[in-house]
Amino acid sequence: MTPSELKQLIESRLPGARAEVRDLTGGNDHFRIEVRWSGFVGQSLLDQHRLVQGACREHLGAAIHAIEIKTFPG
């Protein structure tokens, strides 16, 4: 999975979100994902991360080995 594929996936599943995805190792399986989304407003940090995990759930543990998430409400 490429960073741009992952970015598109997250933005399609969190409508209106802006995602930045960086490949941490060059292997297309460890990513840092930064997401700004109005849907995070009022959600706990844990729940914000759950929303991002949910957006790429079927790839976690498969094409994606590890992700680091940073969320920005708004």
Partner: protein, 107 residues
């Protein structure tokens, strides 16, 4: 054999429990190493469970917490999050406050 109930008992038995890949002194994943380092700077009073010690730990943990990745930090039985959340909370001083609230001896 680990079950979600055994995870529940484990995170209730100690105030601070961190599930990692690899041991406290030989973490086998960068995120686990980061999580251990963040805790080490705040306290030495935490329990580490290496998910590689038994193949049944990881599925039991994921079923219990509904959190897909490792590491996972629990304070007083409550899931706090992974290394990215720990880093963010530590930077804000919130992780120290959570440990203080749980009356964990700090460094």
């Amino acid at each position: 054999m680990w079950t979600p109930d055994k995870i529940r008992e484990t995170v209730a038995a100690d105030k601070v429990v961190l599930f990692t890949k690899g041991s406290r002194y030989q973490p086998m994943c960068g995120f686990s190493a980061k999580a251990i380092g963040i805790l080490e700077r705040l306290t030495d009073q935490f329990t580490v469970v290496n998910i590689f010690d038994d193949p049944s730990i990881r599925p039991a943990l994921v079923a219990f917490s509904n959190w897909p990745t490792t590491p996972q930090l629990f304070i007083q039985g409550e899931l706090i999050g992974g290394s990215d959340i720990m880093e963010e909370l530590a930077a804000q001083g919130d992780l120290r406050r959570r440990l203080e609230q749980a009356q964990v001896p700090l460094r």
